[in-house]
């Protein structure tokens, strides 16, 4: 077991100006499941490959435990890349399939057997150890492959989009299996995905990257409740947060034809490049439908209603001359998403009035996009 530390680790690809990973500072605790997430090109896979030893580190260091591995070959780093290869050997028993790498390394027979049996117990494969892979179900075969990595007792597991090749159903199943297995094993794990749902459901902590820069690292709850900037706010959560930039007049942000009072202490923190505007974020599930005329309520014209049984979502536009164009959400520009009571859905074309629940609005600088604490 081990901690993992990225210490201002930087990767610049030859012939490029901008670093693919820019001075990444990240400390991963022993036994932690950390998910690196972000859109394509954000540097998440590059970061993982730097840790694996597949990418050069041009500046900074990488440590596994207290050991500086920056210039150590991948095979000497005591890490395991999981799921890179899980084709099983048809003529070998399950036990041999799991233990052959140890045999290559010259591990004594008795020890191989002990380690294989331990791994089999964790993976629920004990009664299959002497069978051939042919006799196993698809899920069991996948666990044998996992067992291959486990018996090596690596200090860190690395997983790069291991579910990308599975269909939707199997993806959800395997997601849960990996997460629970990792918790039982307690091996430090770094996991890369572009899928924020995967990140939220699996990680102890999540690190969001964009353009090679770490945006925020924290628990799924941190990321959801207090996103550090507009990017994280829009990236984490499904459907995505509604985010708009609105002009402030006399302490009130003009949101379509409505107004939202901006707290006094926030007004004092506005910077010159905010241009007397503020960016407000509100999640679809942070809105209440209220009667017309309720203070701080925002009129939304209903474009379409999506009913999912347990939930219903209104896709609408802000009513009013200004502001409408400056808002965006998971549904695109100039659209907002509102979660409504699935038993009381409005009709298409109707105008509903919604209000952001107290404490559930997110305020950001219009200029820098940074969160405004208040």
């Amino acid at each position: 077991m081990a901690t993992v530390t990225f210490d201002k680790a930087t990767r610049v690809y030859p012939g490029t100006e901008r670093p693919a990973v820019d001075a990444l500072d990240l400390h991963i605790e022993d036994g932690e499941f950390l998910v690196l997430v972000g859109p394509s090109g954000c540097g998440k896979s590059t970061s993982l490959r730097m840790l694996a030893g597949l990418e050069d580190v041009n500046a900074g260091r990488i440590l596994i435990g207290d050991r500086d591995v920056t210039d150590v070959q991948p095979k000497d780093r005591d890490i395991a890349m999981v799921f890179q290869n899980y084709a099983l050997y048809p003529h070998m028993t399950v036990a041999d399939n799991m233990g052959f790498a140890l045999k290559i390394a010259g591990t004594p027979k008795a020890e191989i057997r002990t380690r294989v049996e331990e791994a089999a117990k964790i993976l629920d494969l004990t009664q299959y150890l002497d069978r051939k892979p042919k006799a196993l179900s698809g899920g069991q075969r996948q666990r044998v492959a996992m067992g291959r990595a486990i018996v090596r007792q690596p200090r860190v597991f690395l997983m790069d989009e291991p579910l990308s090749n599975l269909d939707a159903k199997l993806r959800v199943q395997t997601r849960t299996q990996i997460a629970s297995l990792q918790r039982r094993l307690g091996v430090t794990t770094v996991y890369v995905t572009h899928d924020q749902t995967e990140a939220l459901t699996m990680g102890d902590r999540i690190a969001v990257l964009k353009d090679g820069l770490l945006q925020q690292v924290g628990t799924p709850r941190d990321m959801y409740d207090t996103p550090a900037n507009v990017f994280v706010a829009g990236f984490i959560g499904s459907p995505a947060m509604n985010i708009g930039t609105f002009p402030i007049t006399e302490g009130v942000a003009k949101v379509g034809s409505a107004g939202i009072a901006v707290p006094r202490d926030v007004l004092g923190t506005l910077a010159a490049d905010d241009n007397n505007s503020i960016t407000i974020g509100f999640r679809p599930e942070a809105l209440d439908v209220v009667p017309q005329g309720t203070p701080d309520s925002i009129p939304v014209s209903v474009n379409i209603v999506e009913e999912l049984g347990s939930d219903a979502f209104v896709y609408g536009s802000l009513v009013g001359e200004a502001g409408a164009a400056d808002v965006h959400s998971g549904a695109g520009d100039a659209q907002v998403i509102v979660r409504v009571d699935p038993r009381q859905v409005p009709a298409k074309g109707e105008t509903i009035h919604v209000r952001i629940r107290t404490g559930e609005q997110h305020l950001f600088h219009a200029g820098s996009g940074e969160r405004i604490a208040h």
């Binding site: 690809y13 030859p14 012939g15 694996a52 030893g53 597949l54 990418e55 050069d56 070959q73 991948p74 095979k75 890179q84 290869n85 899980y86 084709a87 099983l88 050997y89 048809p90 003529h91 070998m92 028993t93 041999d96 052959f100 790498a101 045999k103 290559i104 051939k132 042919k134 990308s164 090749n165 599975l166 269909d167």
Partner: protein
């Protein structure tokens, strides 16, 4: 309900016959009459071979994004002239008649006259087969690394082999885990090599467990040999060397050594130190196929490196025997082609031709003639050698154009039968 998606075919040169294949059936359930019975390697995906417009294609069920990615990578690799399978296309939007969506497929061209390692080991081959396969794989890995391709999952299963004179030439068949970079880091090369070593040992141990390979064969030593062969070749091709200014002949010697290994030097970095007493050289661009390119230029024959080496030797002998050292090389080569090579290959009866590709056939004819001459203590003419070879040797050889011999029942997903072609 999800809307019924439409079948979408992405291919550089779409073949209408693709539409006739039963895309609404999971690959594992395809009827036997659609399939070509070819031995398959170990794969985590369902893979089948099917006949299509007189050729054979390999079809692999795989996630959509991965399918497109691998298709693109294989196209880039062919453009870079790396030995790899040719991609035919990607098919997405497959649905079963009951509306159940089916996985996307990647289609590649089956490499004619290629042999998976499991088929090679299932016959009685010379004991050093494993070593020759490993040599071929080392050359392939070096060539891939030279163009900046990181494989990620090097194994015998992900490679196909073609006979190349007395050796083998290896081809990449699975690029799923690969990536193309401008240049690989030492870590990427080292990891590929380590994965290769472990996978090869595992695959050989598997053959031993299935009693296809003698258990006395040292699988670990063979895996280690790959790493050694690779390092030797890599260093010969890329390392820099320094010498005194008076040893300039070493520049030419280095180039000849690389030619001998089958590589051309496209660009050589030559630097002298400040006082001009030592020279440092380092090959910057090396291209495989030194001999095959030369043969292609002279005769238009497109063959593999060691076959080309053999044919060029034969051409040299022809030049000497005809005493035409002073003639234009291309004219003599043309005469050799029409007077020696083509008549010999054409003399083989048509029904025996699918057994070996022409260049390989010619290589074996040369071998056979040598054996006959040796035994009879005279120079046996080619015509006689062909007659004896097609009568006594070739009929006993298996057809290798597309290795057949598995019964349809063995094509089930869980079948692990290595075809027995005796």
């Amino acid at each position: 309900m999800t809307p019924r998606t439409r079948l979408q075919i992405t291919a550089a040169a779409p073949d209408p016959a693709l539409l006739d294949l039963p895309w609404d059936v999971p690959l594992a359930d395809w009827p036997a009459e659609r399939l070509a019975a070819l031995p398959r390697g170990i794969s985590r995906h369902t893979v089948r071979f099917a006949r299509l417009s007189g050729r054979v294609v390999a079809i692999k069920e795989i996630g959509e994004t991965v399918a497109y990615r691998e298709y693109e990578l294989l196209r880039q690799l062919s453009r870079l002239d790396v030995p790899s399978v040719e991609p035919v296309g990607v098919i997405t939007g497959r649905t079963a008649p009951d509306g159940e969506p089916l996985e996307a497929v990647l289609i590649t061209q089956h490499l004619r006259f290629s042999l998976p390692y499991r088929a090679l080991f299932s016959q009685a081959l010379r004991p050093d087969t494993a070593t020759r396969l490993i040599d071929a794989l080392a050359v392939l890995l070096v060539r891939l690394h030279l163009v900046g391709f990181y494989w990620g999952d090097v194994s015998l299963s992900n490679t196909l082999f073609r006979r190349d004179a007395e050796t083998f030439a290896a081809y990449l068949v699975d690029a799923e885990t690969g990536d193309l970079h401008d240049e690989l880091t030492p870590g990427q090369r080292g990891y590929d090599l380590e994965v290769a070593r472990v996978n090869i040992i595992g695959e050989l141990m598997d053959l031993q467990a299935g009693e296809f390979l003698d258990e006395d064969v040292d699988a670990v030593a063979i895996g280690d040999a790959l790493a050694e062969r690779y390092e030797e070749l890599w260093s010969a091709l890329t390392s820099s060397e320094s010498f005194g200014l008076n040893e300039r002949w070493r520049v030419q010697a280095r180039i000849e050594r690389l030619n001998d290994l089958g590589f051309d030097v496209g660009e050589l970095d030559i630097t002298t130190d400040i006082d001009g007493t030592t020279v440092r050289i380092q090959p910057k661009v090396v291209d495989a196929g030194h001999h095959s390119r030369r043969l292609m230029r002279l005769t238009g024959l497109d063959v593999q490196e060691n076959q080309a080496r053999r044919l060029l030797n034969d051409l040299d002998q022809f030049v000497a025997a005809m005493d035409r050292q002073n003639d234009d090389e291309t004219f003599v080569a043309h005469d050799w082609l029409t007077e020696v090579f083509e008549p010999a290959v054409r003399a083989v009866p048509r029904d025996l031709r699918p057994k070996l590709e022409p260049a390989q056939l010619y290589h074996e004819l040369l071998d056979h003639r040598w054996f006959l001459s040796e035994a009879q203590k005279r120079d046996v003419p080619m015509r006689e050698a062909v007659k004896s070879y097609t009568k006594d040797i070739l009929p006993t050889r298996p057809d290798e154009e597309s290795v057949l011999g598995v019964s349809a029942a063995d094509l089930r997903e869980d079948a692990d039968v290595v075809p027995n072609r005796d």
